[in-house]
C-alpha cells in the first residue's frame, strides 16, 4: 500500500537517526592526491609506499628526505655543509621573510642537501635539490654547498651523484646567484679532469641557470619520466615566439629524443642502476664515504 509508506518516509537526515548514524566517510578516509595524468585519486599512504609514483607511472615531486629513504643504504647518509645558509646580500624586499617562512614550512635549511652516502654499498657524494624550498632555486648558499661537495669529492676521490630540481638562479640574490653557475661549473670541471665520475638525475622541473650549469655537466645524465627540463620557461617561449609549442615540449622524453639525456629511469629502478654505474666508474684509491 503506497499511502503509509509515504507517511513514514524520512524527510531529512535527522529523521534517519541523525548525522552521526550515517557512515562518516570524509573524516575517516585517508587523505589522497589526484593524479594529473590518470585523474584518479590515490591515497597518500599508497603513494608514499610506491616512492611517490602513481600506479599509472606518473612521478610526483619528492622532497629530499623521502628521496634519501629509497636511495641510500640505511643510516649511511652523513650531511655535509649544513651550516651554509642563505644570507640576503642585496637586502631584497621580502626575501628575508620568504626565507624564514620557507625554512619553517619545508623544515629544510636550504634548497639543496649534500652529504656522503652508500648506495648498495657503493660510497659516493650525493646532492639532492629540494622542490619545496623556493623550488630549488640557486643562490649563494646552494652554489657554495654544491661547490664544496665537488671539492670534497675531488679530495677524497669519490663519485658525485646529483638529483636536480630547480626553477633556476634565485633572482633575489642578483648577480651573486648568476655567478654560482660559473663557480659550480668550475668545481665540476676540476672533479672531472681528475678522472672522477659525476652522474646527474634530472627531476621535475629542472630549468634555467641550473640546466645551464651543473645539471647538464654530468658524465651520464639520467632523467625521471615526464620531468620538465629546459632552459627558458615554456610560457615565456610561447609569448615570445607566438607559436604553439610541440607536444611533449621540454619533457625528459623530448630531451632523450634530441640527444640531451642518456636514459629515462623510473624511481623503482634508480637505486640499482645508480649502484651499478657507481661500481663501473669507481675511482682507484677512492675513500670510504
Amino acid at each position: 500500500m503506497p499511502f503509509p509508506k509515504f507517511i513514514f518516509q524520512p524527510r531529512n537526515e535527522l529523521e534517519q537517526g541523525g548525522r552521526s548514524a550515517a557512515p562518516v566517510q570524509s573524516d575517516e578516509r585517508e587523505p589522497e592526491k589526484t593524479c594529473p595524468n590518470c585523474h584518479k585519486a590515490v591515497p597518500l599512504s599508497r603513494l608514499w609506499a610506491n616512492r611517490n609514483v602513481c600506479s599509472c607511472g606518473y612521478h610526483f615531486r619528492m622532497g629530499v628526505r623521502a628521496r634519501l629513504r629509497y636511495l641510500a643504504d640505511k643510516d649511511s647518509f652523513t650531511e655535509l655543509f649544513g651550516e651554509v645558509g642563505s644570507g640576503d646580500p642585496l637586502e631584497f624586499p621580502g626575501y628575508a621573510d620568504k626565507l624564514e617562512m620557507t625554512r619553517t614550512s619545508s623544515r629544510e635549511e636550504e634548497a639543496v642537501l649534500c652529504g656522503t652516502v652508500r648506495i648498495e654499498g657503493q660510497p659516493c657524494c650525493l646532492f639532492l635539490m629540494e622542490p619545496y624550498f623556493m623550488m630549488g632555486s640557486m643562490g649563494s648558499a646552494v652554489g657554495e654547498r654544491i661547490t664544496r661537495l665537488f671539492e670534497y669529492a675531488l679530495e677524497h676521490r669519490l663519485s658525485v651523484v646529483g638529483f636536480t630540481v630547480s626553477g633556476g638562479a634565485r633572482m633575489q640574490e642578483g648577480l651573486y646567484s648568476l655567478m654560482q653557475m660559473a663557480k659550480t661549473s668550475g668545481a665540476v670541471k676540476r672533479h672531472s679532469d681528475a678522472g672522477l665520475f659525476y652522474l646527474t638525475v634530472l627531476t621535475d622541473p629542472t630549468t634555467g641557470g641550473v640546466t645551464a650549469s651543473f645539471a647538464m655537466e654530468g658524465d651520464i645524465i639520467l632523467a625521471e619520466p615526464g620531468a620538465t627540463v629546459g632552459f627558458a620557461g615554456a610560457r615565456v617561449i610561447e609569448q615570445t615566439t607566438r607559436k604553439a609549442l610541440p607536444k611533449g615540449f621540454q619533457t625528459a622524453e623530448f630531451l632523450l629524443e634530441h640527444g640531451f639525456v642518456d636514459a629515462i629511469v623510473p624511481r623503482s629502478e634508480q637505486r640499482a642502476l645508480i649502484a651499478r654505474l657507481l661500481r663501473v666508474h669507481a675511482a682507484e684509491g677512492g675513500e670510504d664515504a
Partner: protein, 263 residues
C-alpha cells in the same frame, strides 16, 4: 651620479649605442671572420674570428645586436642560439691550441628563447662553455659593452678579467622579468632594476668585475684607442703569467663570489 638604475638599463639597451661589431672594428685591426660551429650552423648573433691588437694575434668573439631593423632581425637582436655559443667555444679552443688570447665583447639581453634553441640544447651549450672556459689554457678578457643578460652573457664571461662599460648592465634576470614574476606586474621594472643591483658600480662592489670603462667619447676613435691600450697592457700581464697560476686565479676569481652565512 643621480641616475636611477632603470635609466642605466635604458642607456645600456639604446640602439644608438655602439654594438659589438663597432667595438670590434674600433679596437682591433685586420679582422678575419670565421663562421660556423661545425655542428649545426652559423649563428649571426655571435661574430668571431682572428684579429690583431697592437700587432698581437688574438681571437675576438662579439655578440652583435645590429643597427638597422633588418640587421637586428638577422642577428636575432643579439640573442645567441646554441650554435652561437658552440661557435664561440670552437674559436676559444682554437685560440688555446695556437696560444692566442681571447677577447669577448658581450651585449645581449639573454640567450635566444625559442623552440629550436631548446631542441638543440641551449642549456647544455651554455653549461659546456662555463665548464670549458674555466680551464681554457690561454688568457681571456671579457668586456660587457651593453646588456649583460644572465646565463646568455655569462657563457662568454668566464674570464680572467671582466670589464664593464660605465653604462652597461649585468643581471641575473631582466628587470621586467623579475617584476612580473615577483609582483605580477612588469610595469614595476624600474623598482626591480633598483633592487637587482645591476649597474657597473654594483658589479664592481660585489667583485664580479675588475674595472669600469668610462664612456667619455664613446664610439670616437680616441675612445677605442685608449681601450686598445688598456686591453693590450692587461693582456701582456696575463700572458706573462704561468698557465697553471692563471687557471688557479681564474678558478678562485669565481670561487670566492657568494654571500652566504655560516651557522
Amino acid at each position: 651620479m643621480n641616475r636611477s638604475a632603470y635609466e642605466t638599463v635604458k642607456l645600456a639597451r639604446s640602439n644608438r649605442r655602439p654594438t659589438g661589431l663597432d667595438f670590434l672594428h674600433g679596437v682591433f685591426t685586420d679582422f678575419f671572420e670565421l663562421h660556423g660551429d661545425r655542428r649545426f650552423g652559423d649563428d649571426a648573433s655571435v661574430v668571431g674570428g682572428l684579429a690583431e691588437l697592437e700587432g698581437k694575434n688574438v681571437t675576438v668573439i662579439a655578440i652583435e645586436k645590429g643597427h638597422s631593423i633588418r640587421e637586428r632581425m638577422l642577428r636575432s637582436f643579439g640573442a645567441p642560439q646554441p650554435e652561437g655559443y658552440r661557435k664561440a667555444l670552437r674559436l676559444m679552443k682554437q685560440a688555446e691550441k695556437f696560444h692566442r688570447p681571447v677577447i669577448c665583447l658581450i651585449d645581449t639581453s639573454g640567450a635566444y628563447c625559442g623552440i629550436g634553441a631548446e631542441e638543440r640544447g641551449q642549456g647544455q651549450a651554455i653549461a659546456e662553455n662555463l665548464m670549458e672556459m674555466m680551464t681554457l689554457r690561454t688568457p681571456v678578457i671579457s668586456l660587457l659593452i651593453g646588456e649583460g643578460g644572465s646565463g646568455g652573457a655569462l657563457a662568454l664571461a668566464v674570464a680572467d678579467r671582466v670589464w664593464m662599460l660605465e653604462d652597461a648592465i649585468y643581471s641575473v634576470i631582466s628587470p621586467e622579468g623579475c617584476a612580473s614574476i615577483l609582483w605580477k606586474d612588469a610595469k614595476r621594472a624600474p623598482e626591480a632594476a633598483q633592487q637587482l643591483k645591476l649597474t657597473a658600480q654594483d658589479a664592481l662592489a660585489g667583485g664580479m668585475i675588475e674595472r669600469i670603462i668610462p664612456e667619455e667619447g664613446l664610439g670616437k676613435p680616441e675612445f677605442y684607442e685608449s681601450l686598445r691600450h688598456e686591453l693590450s697592457a692587461e693582456l701582456a700581464g696575463l700572458l706573462a703569467m704561468d698557465v697553471q697560476a692563471l687557471l688557479e686565479a681564474r678558478y678562485q676569481r669565481f670561487r670566492r663570489i657568494g654571500k652566504e652565512r655560516e651557522a
